[in-house]
């Protein structure tokens, strides 16, 4: 079990992918620019459809030898396509930075640089999302969005598309695009063009038809390519496989998939296209073991495939997931470190009637995870009271082998969260994970990672009458001189006002971003494959989906809780430090005040130790953020959902915060997710889990992340694995939502920092997703090493 024999094909493809040095590919940018120029006068949605169509018809295609699944997002293996329509501002500003930056380095060849600067980017000047958003923002909101030391970051959707979606693959595989075209044609023929909103519907339906034809011919291009290669191929095995690929691409995704092989290829084309249409990240897979199962069962029963071949195909697919690349802006790359795509694939869980649905494919997907050594897909296991023990044990076994995936989710919490916002029970039970940890029902346009916001900065402002300690400028409202605060309630009141003030501007920015997307960047392909958009004739960016969320995250959670606990205990209760003394020390970054700083660190209770004193404060902090965010409605007829997690944003956001009463130094990293501050948790994982379970996870509707790091030695024996599983089950029993593990020693991580070449395959869970450790910047690497490592028991 622990030393599986990996398939030669998996090893070869895995190694070939790891050997690629990430580069920028210019083809998409070139084709998109031409298409926009050719279709200048068209309505936007049609222009977008024709653009995607041109990309699919004209981009270079290739077939990697021995890879059984075809279809790539760019002209060669693991290169990043460009999306000038949303990215042109930073592409121009950062073109020379891509190769030099610390995070997510990309090679940009000289001729590409020249073509971009001379031929492509000038066309997009002032037309990309960021330019349009900045023009549209009210003055005060714009000031906060563009602050150097930000309190919130909406960069992800200002420089990119929506992402964070899970479409209806079941329908796509079942009908094929020919079938979807029929549905659209029926809608078109029934469309009453005398109605006031009919022209938008007409345009959308026409766009969907254009894209359906484009994806069908895209597959046919691969069929032709495979036959062309087969003609000259001398290796009989590969020749035969090429001909099989050709036959499959003749059929899907045009027609319904007839067997497992066709279903896998059809899935991949329809999934890939979401990544070609938009540069949003976390285009997730959903319940793969469920929608693929009928094809698996049929093919096994009719004998057209055996389990070994299914496993081989799954591993080919696993490798394809990591081919997806993005050229993020440097700012975004810091927040979503490691070329994070976070294509979440969910296993296990229950069906609409509440019965467990774990099947053979669920287990084979775990095996594929064990046998591939890559960051994607982001693998999630749904856990409920009837989850089969052998499935959970296998999941834990895969984690223990040092894989850092899968992550675990509590069905009880996910289902309650969705039902509380009006999703019916049956659909709530069919939830998946979008991106990192966000529960979404089917038929949903999640936008679940809308922004990262800095509650630690809000506390800094509350202790400085709204003035930023770093730049001495007013950022938040005047909440009074803290020297006049009489008790911790006064501090919390000021903190709440600061949170409400910045959240208001964050929401204003997000509403405008959503509107700009709807107007300038409709997504006809995404609308085609997501339910309800065809039915209501509305693009997904305008609210065509059944469920629409906007989910901004809070970062710096433990820092705020610990700071408030230190203020309460040492200033207001014990009075061993005065407010004046503390404020003075913080302004000077604790220079010459190390004893005072150590008192703050060591003489006050800390989050993550199962101490009610601070855990109750933490629960109140969560409540304040969640109440503030939850009251807003988005532009697509949906709700705002608060999350408490940081991905890798705790490092860059920490750089925007001054010294805090928890002893954090100026510009130091913040704590990650809902985890404890580095080095402050003294009682191990059950104490951390107990603290975390005191939050009401059902109000944190966009999710929480709880990271735990274990050394491999702890998990080498059965006791260790059993302990890990019981830890997960105990945490979920107590109401926790999500937990994940890094199983790697700090020695290994330090060695990887020193010799990145020798550790290029080392995967680390940064937060809700995994990445290659050596592709992270030094700050994030250090942060991961410092996360308390549980090893001594």
């Amino acid at each position: 079990m622990n030393n599986p024999v990996r398939h030669w094909r998996t090893i070869k493809l895995n190694d070939e992918l790891l050997d690629v040095k990430p580069e920028i590919c210019i083809e998409r940018a070139r084709l998109v620019t031409k298409a926009y120029q050719e279709n200048e006068g068209d309505p936007m949605v049609l222009k977008r459809a024709k653009t995607i169509s041109k990309v699919l018809n004209e981009m270079t295609i290739f077939i990697q030898k021995d890879q059984l699944i075809v279809g790539a997002q760019a002209s060669s293996l693991r290169v990043a396509p460009l999306f000038p329509e949303t990215e042109s501002t930073y592409l121009e500003e950062e073109i020379d930075l891509f190769e030099k930056r610390e995070q997510d380095r990309l090679i940009v060849k000289d001729n590409i640089k020249k073509e971009l600067l001379e031929d492509i980017l000038p066309y997009w000047k002032n037309k990309d999302t960021k330019s349009l958003v900045l023009k549209a923002l009210p003055e005060e909101t714009k000031r906060l969005v563009t602050l150097q030391d930000q309190i919130f970051s909406v960069d992800i959707h200002m420089t990119g598309s929506i992402g964070h979606v899970i479409v209806n693959y079941e329908k796509v595989l079942g009908k094929g695009f020919a079938g979807l075209k029929e549905d659209i044609n029926v809608k078109l023929s029934n469309l009453d063009m005398t109605q006031p909103d009919s022209s938008e519907k007409y345009e959308l339906y026409c766009s969907m038809l254009i894209i359906s034809d484009a994806i069908i011919s895209f597959a046919h291009r691969y069929a032709a390519k495979a036959r062309e290669l087969a003609r000259i191929e001398e290796d009989e095995r590969w020749k035969k496989e090429l001909l099989s690929i050709a036959e499959i691409c003749d059929n899907v995704p045009e027609k319904p998939a007839e067997n497992f092989r066709e279903a896998v290829q059809s899935f991949w084309f329809s999934h890939l296209l979401l990544y070609i249409e938009q540069n949003g990240l976390a285009v997730s897979v959903g319940r793969f073991d469920q929608f693929m199962y009928p094809y698996y069962k049929k093919s096994i029963e009719e004998g057209s495939i055996v389990d070994g071949e299914v496993q081989e195909l799954l591993e080919c697919l696993w490798i394809k997931f990591t081919e997806i690349m993005r050229a993020y802006s440097y700012e975004s790359a810091k927040y979503y470190a490691g070329f994070s795509i976070s294509e979440n694939l969910v296993l296990g869980g229950i069906d609409a009637t509440g019965e467990d649905v774990t099947n053979e494919l669920s287990l084979m997907c775990l095996e594929a995870e064990r046998n591939t050594l890559l960051p994607q897909p982001n693998l999630a296991v749904r856990v409920h009271t009837k989850s089969p023990k052998h499935f959970l044990k296998k999941a834990v076994d895969v984690v223990s082998s040092g894989r850092s995936k899968p992550e675990f989710f509590n069905d009880d919490v996910g289902i309650s969260v969705l039902m509380s916002s009006g999703v019916p029970l049956e659909e709530a039970r069919d939830y998946s994970i979008s991106g990192c940890v966000e529960a979404v029902p089917p038929h949903c346009n999640g936008m679940t990672n809308a922004a990262m916001s800095n509650i630690a900065k809000a506390l800094e402002l509350a202790l400085n009458d709204g003035v930023c300690q770093l730049k001495e400028i007013q950022i938040g409202p005047n909440t009074g001189d803290p020297n006049n605060f009489n008790n911790i309630e006064d501090v919390i009141k000021a903190f709440k006002i600061q949170v409400e003030a910045y959240v208001k501007h964050m929401v204003i920015a997000l509403q405008i971003i959503e509107k700009i997307h709807a107007k300038h960047f409709p997504l006809p392909y995404f609308s085609l494959v997501l339910d309800d958009c065809i039915e209501v004739g509305l693009d997904v960016t305008s609210g065509g989906a059944r469920y629409n969320y906007t989910g901004p995250q809070a970062v710096g959670f433990a820092d705020v809780a610990n700071s408030l606990a230190a203020l309460k205990k040492l200033i207001f209760e014990e009075k061993s430090i005065t407010m004046h003394e503390l404020l003075d020390a913080m302004r000077n970054d604790f220079n010459g005040k190390e004893i005072l700083r150590q008192q703050l660190i060591n003489k006050a209770p800390k989050w993550g130790n199962d101490e009610d004193y601070v855990d109750e404060i933490a629960a109140e902090v969560a409540q304040i953020y969640c109440d503030t965010v939850s009251k807003y409605k988005n532009t697509r007829g949906g709700i705002y959902r608060p999350g408490i997690y940081s991905v890798s944003g705790n490092v860059p956001l920490g750089q925007h915060v001054g010294a805090l009463p928890n002893g954090k130094l100026k510009r130091g990293a913040l704590a990650d997710g809902i985890g404890p501050e580095h080095g402050t948790d003294k009682f191990g994982p059950t104490a951390i889990a107990s603290s975390a379970s005191k939050l009401n996870h059902k109000i944190i509707t966009n999710g929480t992340i709880l990271n735990q790091k274990f050394t491999p030695t702890l998990l080498k024996d059965e006791r260790g694995k059993e302990g890990l599983l019981d830890l997960i089950l105990g945490y979920f029993d107590m109401g926790g939502w999500h937990i994940q593990f890094n199983v790697v020693s700090s020695e290994t991580l330090r060695a990887a920092q020193e010799n990145p070449q020798e550790h290029k395959g080392l995967i680390i869970r940064v937060a809700g997703y995994s990445a290659f450790f050596t592709e992270l910047d030094r700050g994030v690497q250090d942060d991961i090493i410092l996360r308390t490592e549980q090893s001594t028991f």
């Binding site: 004893i595 150590q598 994982p685 107990s690 302990g723 019981d726 830890l727 105990g730």
Partner: protein
């Protein structure tokens, strides 16, 4: 004094222990031990009183402790704190003033209720894993009254209770203290009396006698620390395997390979680690040694 007697002196609560009995457990470490094993990884358990621990890595050289010390046992020499351990009277005042916890207090008195309050915290995890509480040390039976009161109180909550013991206590006191526990983790350091005396400071006769008696009365897991070159020669291992299998046929044996993780603690307590440089045994060695016990029909687990 009577007040103190009702309380137990404890130096650590370790949650999520998964190698000290079944399931997820909290280990409660009681302070004080009649043995003085040279390889001991918990030297802070030797004394049955509160004491200080000094960790220079945490020290910021603020000299607060120098001023706090009543007997001038702490000095700053060339920007380094030096403690004259012989002069220290364990008044603990330095530890109370230290802001960084470079000087920390080892040991605290707890009532039974206070211990229950602590161990109850992981009730969910015990339930999930069929785990519970392990009371270790030092030698927990050095505080027999406290132990006797504590065990039934913990069991009231349905938590499994294990006692880890050296067995070096008068039989009547020993049995009376542990009789209500679910399980004993009984340490045997060496079957050879000379080796035992040399490396633990005491002879092994009481221990072996108590072992023979308790085995008939309670569930016992036998735990053997294996210190390469000291208690791992073939003859001793075979004798030990014989002794165990004769008294406890088909019993469970835990083999604990030596590690030097406790070494750094000695210096922090003003003690000297006088065991020569020893390497942790390899997995190969451990498996090899395990054979001696497996051959006698014992069930062996390597920890």
């Amino acid at each position: 004094m009577s007040n103190i007697e009702k309380k137990g002196l404890i130096f650590n609560f370790q949650r999520f222990s998964i190698h000290d009995g079944p399931g997820i457990r909290t280990v409660v470490f009681l302070k004080g031990c009649p043995l003085n094993c040279k390889w001991c990884s918990n030297p802070e358990a030797f004394l049955n009183n509160t004491q200080i621990n000094y960790s220079s890595a945490k020290c910021i050289n603020c000299n607060t402790c120098v001023g706090a010390c009543r007997v001038d046992a702490i000095k700053n020499v060339n920007n380094m704190i030096e403690i004259d351990w012989d002069m220290c009277v364990n008044c603990l005042e330095c530890s109370e003033t230290c802001s960084t916890q470079a000087i920390s207090k080892i040991g605290q008195f707890y009532t039974v209720e206070e211990v229950i309050e602590k161990v109850k915290r992981d009730a969910h995890f015990y339930k999930k894993s069929h785990g519970g509480v392990t009371i270790s040390g030092g030698e927990p039976v050095m505080q027999p009254e406290f132990l006797r009161n504590l065990i039934p109180e913990i069991r009231k909550y349905g938590f499994n209770v294990a006692i880890e013991t050296t067995g070096y206590v008068n039989w009547n006191i020993f049995y009376d203290a542990v009789k209500e526990a679910d399980l004993l983790l009984f340490d045997l350091k060496s079957i050879d009396n000379d080796t035992h005396l040399k490396y633990t400071g005491v002879e092994n006769r009481t221990i072996l006698d108590n072992y023979k008696k308790i085995i008939k009365l309670k569930d016992v897991v036998t735990r053997l620390p294996l210190i390469p070159g000291i208690n791992t020669n073939e003859k001793d291992l075979n004798n030990l395997a014989n002794f165990i299998s004769e008294n406890n046929p088909n019993g469970v044996v835990h083999l604990l390979g030596y590690h030097s993780l406790g070494k750094a603690k000695y210096n922090q307590l003003g003690l000297i680690y006088d065991l020569a440089e020893i390497k942790s045994p390899s997995e190969y060695d451990m498996k090899n040694w395990a054979e001696a016990f497996k051959n006698k029909g014992l069930i062996v687990e390597l920890l």
